[in-house]
Symmetry: C2
Subunit: 463 residues, 2 copies
């Protein structure tokens, strides 16, 4: 026997146990994907949620229907426990469809807008004023009160198309929508129009929440489609004194009682250690909310269904959480964290799927470096399914508060391919027909594979 062979044998015996473990894991993960790709039910369930229930903004009848539907669905799957967490949510309504037009001389051009979530109305009639285009909040501030007073401010900085990961571009451009209205109001503006956070040129306005600063007047704010924004910008170049006119009848009604919806498979060995996987049940009102975030809900339920169908009994407690009110308040996420603290719950990890039902690419992690490392060690088991991007990243809005409440919880965001997301996000074209069955089912399987590893090994070195 040559030395190299001998050394190889030694190495072999040392690592046999690890190999055996890995081989079993590889087989189990393959079975998860086989089940999802042959009998996956995310697509069928998303069809129901999108087409039979539809858009489900917090406080709406549809949101209530979605609560009941998801509870019944999880009960029908025979999960060990299905329950609701009561939470009061905001109730903003859009009212009659918005209208907007640009007037220059005798020309009047209509452009597609929609109210930003939470905006006040323009009153009973349209608001008409001169409009000033800016690209940044700093540019607005530099104008000063004298130039802004009485005007509408038009934020027109496009998302940067150069980011391959489009959520970075969304993050960079989002200040216009979130802070823009109150920053403009501070300088006396009467209204705000924001270029839609959309990477494509089209006629869909994209809504989304604004954040009013309570110390300044609330002024009406709307998103304009990317084509509309270009049109407006072009017309402003030839007539700085053109008038912009828009009419919105949105209002905020009293808070409404709603719920997070939770299903559980109880852990056989460590029932008090929880691995949560979730999405948000509410959506904007303009469309089905198929990608945002019907996807995350149906995939999360699917994770538990996959385990049930494979007769896999987890060591730890696995939870599917449908958070309520991600879009305009995060009340469900905060309530979940509050109750986790009250009940002294211990979360190993929480995984959120809120980036669309596209082909899986990996997971973004918020957590201690050793835990990120532990997750990265599973790359060889996950790479065969296209899950290569495993590293630090934003995890999810709903699970953020849990990270504050339970410092030991590792927060994980499911990362699907991001190229198409911002064509549909918060717009009336976020509909079921934009979802591909295989891409969606692969997402549920990817999360199930990770939950399986988290359940089996934890994140504290295999305990």
């Amino acid at each position: 026997m040559y030395l190299r062979s001998f050394l190889f044998l030694i190495a072999f015996f040392i690592s046999t146990n690890a190999f055996a473990q890995t081989a079993a894991d590889s087989v189990f993960i393959r079975k998860i994907f086989d089940e999802a790709l042959t009998n996956g039910q995310s697509y069928k369930n998303l069809d129901y949620l999108s087409n039979k229930i539809g858009g489900r903004l917090s406080g709406s009848l549809e949101a209530e229907k979605a609560v009941q539907w998801s509870r019944q669905l999880m009960e029908s799957y025979g999960f060990d426990k299905v329950y609701l967490q009561e939470v009061m949510v905001p109730h903003w309504v859009r009212g009659a469809k918005e209208k907007a037009s640009i007037q220059t001389g005798k020309t009047k051009v209509e452009v597609p807008i929609c109210a930003l979530g939470g905006s006040v109305s323009t009153g009973k009639t349209a608001l008409t004023a001169n409009i000033i285009e800016v690209k940044t909040l700093d540019e607005l501030k530099a104008l000063g009160r004298s130039k802004v007073q009485g005007k509408i401010i038009f934020f027109n900085r496009p998302m940067d198309p150069r980011h391959v990961q489009t959520f970075i571009a969304y993050g960079e451009a989002g200040d216009q929508r979130r802070q823009g209205p109150s920053e403009a109001a501070k300088l006396g503006a009467v209204g705000v129009i924001v270029r839609s956070l959309n990477l494509f040129q089209d006629d869909f306005p994209h809504t989304g929440s604004l954040r009013y600063d309570e110390s300044v007047p609330k002024i009406p704010a709307a998103a304009i489609s990317t084509n509309g924004a270009d049109k407006l910008s072009q017309m402003l170049k030839t007539d700085q004194n053109l008038k912009f006119s828009f009419e919105m009848h949105c209002q905020t009604l009293p808070d409404v009682k709603s719920y997070n919806v939770i299903g559980e498979l109880r852990g056989s060995e460590k029932p008090n250690e929880i691995i949560a996987v979730g999405g948000h049940l509410d959506s904007w009102d303009l469309a089905d909310g198929a990608h945002d975030d019907g996807t995350g809900c149906t995939q999360s339920i699917e994770v538990l269904r996959l385990f049930k169908s494979m007769n896999y009994r987890p060591k730890r407690t696995i939870r599917a959480v449908m958070f309520m009110n991600e879009e305009n308040g995060v009340r469900g996420g905060r309530k979940y964290a509050e109750l986790a603290k009250t009940n002294n719950e211990s979360h190993v990890a929480a995984i959120e799927s809120d980036a669309g039902g596209f082909t899986p690419r990996g997971f973004g992690i918020e957590g201690q470096p050793d835990k990120i490392k532990a997750l990265q060690n599973w790359k060889p088991l996950l790479a065969p399914y296209g899950l290569h991007d495993i590293g630090p990243g934003h995890a999810g809005t709903d699970i953020g508060p849990l990270g504050e409440a339970d410092k030991n919880a590792t927060l994980i965001g499911f990362l699907p391919d991001s190229q198409r997301y911002f064509q549909y996000h918060h717009a009336s074209n976020d509909t079921f027909d934009k979802v591909n069955k295989r891409e969606l089912e692969l997402g549920g399987a990817s999360m199930a594979a990770l939950v399986y590893l988290l359940d089996k090994y934890g994140l504290d070195g295999g305990k």
Copy 2:
């Protein structure tokens, strides 16, 4: 100075050159993607090819228009040389739209079919006969002549949905379409119906080439939609004696003169070393052929346009090749290889994009192990763009003959995400609206990044 620091410094000086090289490459590749994501023209060009020219089966007027269009487009970009390679191609025509129905008792159910490419017609009227369902060629052979004689054979083995890489499923199921008709004819069958090679349940029949064995009679063969196949299979369970009837008026006309279309940027240092990047200009006749393979053509032209726009002067000669007749003959691919041999050309590599315009995932390579290794060494430069899957794999049908003619040429297939491809492939829904601009442009940039590295370093250890 501690030993470790010293060793580190040594290592640093040794590798500084490599680091500097890598940093410059990283910057250049970033610029390629920036240009593609801000000013990419693949999408605009594909719009023209798909919507102004349309389906372009070999020998058709549209194929001729596509030749002229792609030549003019490359000339308009100012490539160093644009030229045609004459090649005779088959001229098969579908004729009047196909019809098919299932008859059981007094019930007649129409089902969607389309002739397989190259099929003979059913004659002037419909062909009606009993039909036998089989799943495999072996199952057919086991039936024997006594059972098959005078019947239509129905191949109904679905693509296996469990393969994450869907081309594997296509490869496994393809024998039914390619060999099925002649294998059935050998046993006296009068016609063949093949389940569409489609991973989704819908009403689109998917065409594609069959291979007639010249030693047996040519019998008419069609694809049936996946829903239609399920319907037929279900009805056969209750009535084995039902009649299947289909009518097709396709025919093969004399060969037609056509062309490969080639554009070049001439190498500044090693003009005789060629790096080719290509797709096929012909498509099936049922749709635009946007994904198959308008994508590959416009992306290949884009690779050269990107270099021109960045004032990058390649060391080696870079070629964009629009191959003619991939779908039903590979005559263009064979002509290209033949002329490469005649002209003593030396190809470093040939890259083919013929898997759709979806988000890039990597490259599949046919070549010597050391060259595959050399390509894998570039992973750190390519991974930031989602290009993780770099390893052995099928490269492309058009460049296959070149691999035979020039044994030193490394063949590379561009690998986009494969989940959606077989919903559109060879069917009437392979249209421009199924293409996402960002996904398409990322493909052109991915190929340009690889061509840049191949041009700069070659595959023989950095020469």
